[in-house]
């Protein structure tokens, strides 16, 4: 668009807005009378101005309408007083259905949110750690700690573990599991951390994956959700981790919800 066209357009808007006067206005009207495309452009601008006025009136009436419906204790209608013809009822029903769906979904989410507890999440994900079955001849090599664990004598496990000064990673892990079984989260967390640290120091992975998974569950039980989430995400992000499939999106969502409660 060249400068002269721009100037003419601006002048046209000035004329539309009633800002031209005197000789300037007369000159422009003379030009207008001679120029059909200028007349069309003026018509177009007038139509645009009309649209703005229509919108303004709609906003004004709509605002008062809502106030008056409240004053008259009638059902208040939302904006958009002019909803296109026969679509109005469909839109209203759609809104009602959508609102119902939102309400139902909201109720379910709300129920889940408020009925959720750390104990529930822990209980629904926790399964006692089971040692592999021993073959004949292996029994002699089993430590006392492991034997007590296999007998589900968790008190004995933790007693033996604390009595024996140097435990293997496996024994420490079993002691940690036993503390979980006994409901002593603090001690369980300490022992799981030892397992992880020892595996990392030795650059092995004897019980690291197990310890991280059960430590995360213990954190949930202990309401340490941030620590739990960090470990759960780590497990979930590693497809090679044997607990990868156990850490579902649902579990992570539940822990997040618990965090916000």
């Amino acid at each position: 668009m060249d400068n002269s066209t721009n100037n003419m357009n601006e002048k046209l808007v000035q004329y539309l807005d009633g800002e031209l006067a005197g000789a300037e206005k007369e000159d422009f009207e003379h030009e207008l009378a001679m120029n059909k495309s200028l007349q069309d452009e003026l018509d177009s601008l007038k139509a645009t101005r009309e649209a703005v006025k229509m919108f303004g009136l709609q906003q004004k009436v709509s605002g008062v309408h809502q106030q008056m419906m409240q004053e008259m204790q009638a059902p208040v209608k939302k904006m958009n007083p002019i909803v296109i013809g026969s679509n109005r009822r469909i839109i209203r029903y759609s809104i009602a259905i959508a609102a119902s769906v939102v309400l139902i979904v909201g109720s379910i989410i709300g129920y889940n949110f408020y009925s959720l507890s750390s104990d529930k999440v822990f209980a629904s994900n926790y399964h006692s750690y089971e040692l592999s079955t021993l073959r004949d001849g292996d029994t002699l090599q089993v430590s006392m700690v492991e034997k007590a664990y296999r007998d589900t004598n968790y008190k004995k496990v933790v007693e033996l573990h604390s009595l024996i000064g140097s435990n293997s990673i496996k024994e420490t892990f079993l002691a940690a599991m036993s503390y979980v079984e006994l409901g002593n989260n603090t001690k369980a967390i300490d022992e799981f951390k030892k397992v992880i640290a020892e595996d990392e120091t030795a650059n092995t992975n004897l019980f690291k994956d197990e310890a991280e998974y059960y430590l995360a569950l213990t954190y949930i039980s202990n309401k340490d959700y941030d620590f739990a989430l960090e470990l759960l995400r780590k497990t979930r992000d590693n497809p090679n981790n044997p607990y990868h499939k156990k850490v579902t999106g649902k579990l992570i969502r539940q822990v997040k919800m618990l965090k916000w409660r």
């Binding site: 645009t48 007083p81 296109i84």
Partner: protein, 201 residues
């Protein structure tokens, strides 16, 4: 506490025409006429919600007609609104395809005695589309154009309400917004024609 007062027809029309005390005047129309016009719709297959929708359109149409000087007191405001209401609702029923024979019969008996307003009302679907189209403008554009063309504020007054450097910046912005809306309307020839008809009708 807001004072509630009644307006005689002449004052009501004068206010609507000048754009002064609009809120108060529109509220008075609601208080004076909503219940009786609502009753009409609800007694002719409509719901309360239908009645509210129709009344809102009727008020808009009435104000437009007054401002275009097309209501000159040939009838009372009440009669005129009643006719607009009846016409709008019957059109809606026809659109829904469930106008009852009973109503048609009833309406035929009324045609000769009522004030005919059908030719005053623009196609409501097109009007709705115009409103939707303007609603698609950015918030700043909508505000500037409304303040200037609907509220009739000067560029200086708009400068006082918006955060711009000077009047020229406001003027440039207003120009761009107007051209943008013009372009949006140009892309919808039917709407453009509706607007032209409204201007010339």
């Amino acid at each position: 506490m807001e004072e509630i007062r009644n307006f005689p027809d002449s004052e009501m029309v004068a206010n609507l025409r000048s754009g002064k005390r609009m809120d108060e005047t529109i509220k008075a129309i609601y208080r004076d006429h909503f219940e009786s016009l609502c009753w009409y719709v609800m007694n002719n297959s409509g719901s309360r919600q239908d009645a509210e929708d129709v009344f809102q359109e009727v008020v808009m149409a009435f104000i437009e007609l007054v401002q275009k000087d097309k209501f000159r007191g040939e009838s009372t405001v009440k009669t005129f609104l009643y006719s607009l209401n009846r016409y709008t609702w019957l059109n809606e029923l026809k659109r829904k395809g469930r106008a009852l024979a009973r109503e048609e019969k009833y309406e035929k008996g009324q045609e000769r005695t009522e004030f005919d307003t059908s030719h005053f009302i623009a196609d409501r679907e097109s009007k709705a589309q115009v409103v939707n189209l303007v609603g698609q403008l950015g918030e700043t554009c909508k505000k500037i154009l409304l303040l200037f063309y609907y509220e009739n504020l000067s560029i200086g007054e708009i400068l006082d309400t918006l955060d711009y450097e000077n009047e020229q910046v406001v003027r440039n912005k207003k120009y761009k917004c107007l051209k943008q809306l013009e372009q949006m309307i140009a892309e919808k020839p039917i709407l453009k024609q509706t607007l032209k008809n409204l201007l010339n009708g």
